[in-house]
């Protein structure tokens, strides 16, 4: 599946829910299944700033795609990360760089998208894209 298709899939999945509670419960479920970052990589340089909860994000290049692992101490944040990683992990750098994030609005999590939101969703996306940029530069050398 390409990135667009994954986004569509997520929108489909979330469209089954009638209210925010079901949506959040599903997000929390997704959070529990998050491919965890290893403990030794939970170092301060992996921490994303601007979050009320702690968020660690780690990235690795596998051939020409980037695989992300991450964790948080808050479960809702973990759920958000899980959604982001499903979309962005194992994609090529340029795909990540060009991806837009309207799907977050469409799955009913718009409230998390404000740049001033203390969950740092916006910082997270920024960080994902920064990694993509770094690896792209590396690949183009």
């Amino acid at each position: 599946m390409n990135i667009k298709e994954i986004q569509e899939e997520l929108i489909d999945e979330f469209s089954m829910f009638d209210d925010w509670m079901e949506r959040y419960e599903y997000m929390i479920e997704l959070g529990k299944s998050l491919p965890l970052i290893s403990e030794e990589q939970k170092s301060d340089d992996k921490l994303i700033k601007g979050c009320q909860s702690k968020v660690w994000l780690h990235a690795e290049l596998n051939n020409d795609t980037i695989s992300f692992t991450a964790d948080s101490d808050a479960i809702i944040t973990k759920g958000i990360i899980a959604i982001l990683l499903r979309v962005f992990s194992n994609q090529k750098p340029e795909v990540i760089l060009n991806a837009n994030t309207d799907f977050i609005d469409e799955i009913g999590l718009k409230e998390h998208l404000s740049p001033t939101r203390a969950n740092g969703l916006v910082s997270m996306i920024k960080q994902l894209k920064l990694y993509a940029l770094a690896f792209q530069t590396q690949l183009n050398k």
Partner: protein, 404 residues
């Protein structure tokens, strides 16, 4: 008579819905809501007599000056301050504390000691750290116990001839503890140290008599007392304020300016450089009147009942732990549920229309003391109700179910 239904009608925002639910506003320690009469006073100012104050000869300026100075007198009276020139109108608690901290830069000597409590808001820590860096004074900390109470025997050990200043909050914003400021002041005075009390959290619950408690400096913010943002108070004893160097330079705070030499104005103007928050000062006065009309005894009675009820209800939730369990408390309940991050609880209860605060509440040392990332803080005001407490308790239960 205290009639909650009438009181709630004074606050337009309480009609509002959040996420489809009636707003339950329990973030009063961050900022209070404003009654219509306070909002109206701002509208009235801008619509009928807005002008820059002091020194203006024209009628509008005269009217604005008079009302602004009446507001100062209201503040004076409310806190039982001896002279109106001891009332400095600032832009808030943080500004007030910084004025005093900066004032001591020329007074403190290397090796002098200043004492802070373990449960201060960052606004009552950082300015003093900056002062210590500038002067070489040493910062000492009054420790607290696990109930969230200051250990006074330790405080006494810290006091010595070297102590020049003690600063402590009246009520802790993160724990709700009411500190024994009378004793703290008395002990400090025995070694001739001055005491600054940060009343930001106290003033909406407790009516303070600065002369009675003999405090040297007392500071607060209007926005926590049903008043507007951007205005606050610094009270200081005249003899002390006169000794402090001014903080901001500018208009209003001078007597005479030449390029060679500038002389400063008398109190309070020496510390009120520039155009002040005129509408804010005026509305601050109106807010004080409003609170006094309700009555601080009535407010305290009502709030104490409310917080007792909320404490009892919340503690019935398994795994819920309250931080700050002193018997001397005002309307703050800080808590966590085992295994759940405060941010998660805050997010879920918000979906149910409830505004609580989560995080470190600008008091990181307290979080470090308890070794927690933060708490969920429900903070109450006299316009909250038992029904709202029930909504909160049910919401927390629901959040717990979803999150565990």
């Amino acid at each position: 008579m205290f009639d909650i239904n009438i009181i709630r009608k004074d606050f337009p925002i309480l009609n509002r819905e959040v996420n489809g639910k009636p707003l339950v506003y329990l973030d009063n320690a961050a900022t209070s809501q404003k009654p219509q009469i306070v909002i109206d006073s701002i509208v009235d100012y801008y619509s009928t007599y807005n002008a820059n104050i002091h020194r203006g000869v024209h009628t509008l300026s005269q009217e604005a000056t008079d009302v602004f100075e009446i507001a100062r007198k209201k503040v004076q009276k409310h806190f039982n301050i001896k002279e109106s020139k001891e009332v400095i109108l600032t832009s808030g608690t943080t500004h007030s504390i910084n004025i005093v901290a900066n004032g001591y830069a020329e007074i403190l000597q290397k090796g002098d000691e200043v004492i802070v409590s373990a449960m201060e808001h960052h606004s009552n820590i950082v300015p003093w750290q900056m002062l210590c860096e500038r002067t070489g004074a040493v910062l000492k900390v009054i420790p607290m116990n696990s109930e969230g109470e200051l250990i006074l025997s330790e405080y006494e050990k810290l006091l010595s001839e070297k102590t020049k200043l003690v600063f402590v909050n009246h009520v802790s914003n993160a724990l709700g503890t009411i500190n024994p400021i009378e004793i703290i002041i008395e002990k400090a005075h025995e070694v001739n140290a001055a005491v600054l009390v940060d009343g930001a959290q106290a003033c909406s619950h407790i009516k303070v008599d600065v002369q009675k408690i003999d405090v040297d400096y007392y500071v607060t913010s209007a926005h926590k007392m049903c008043g507007p943002t951007g205005v606050g108070m610094l009270y200081g004893k005249k003899e002390l304020l006169n000794e402090l160097q001014p903080y901001q330079g500018g208009g209003e705070m001078i007597k005479e300016v030449t390029f060679e030499k500038t002389t400063y104005a008398d109190l309070p103007h020496k510390f009120e450089a520039g155009t002040p928050n005129i509408s804010g000062g005026i509305a601050f006065g109106v807010a004080i009147d409003y609170l006094n009309e309700i009555g601080f005894d009535e407010i305290a009675n009502y709030e104490n009942e409310l917080i007792a009820y909320a404490t009892q209800q919340l503690l019935e939730i398994e795994g819920l732990k309250i931080y700050g369990t002193s018997q001397y408390k005002t309307s703050v309940i800080s808590f966590n549920i085992e295994g759940i991050h405060p941010y998660d609880i805050g997010t879920i209860v918000d979906k149910l229309g409830i505004a609580v605060r989560t995080g470190h509440h600008c008091a990181q040392p307290i979080m470090e003391f308890y070794k927690i990332p933060g708490t969920v803080r429900a903070s109450f005001s006299f316009y909250n109700t038992k029904e709202e407490v029930d909504v909160l308790v049910n919401a927390v239960k629901k959040a717990k179910m979803m999150l565990q």
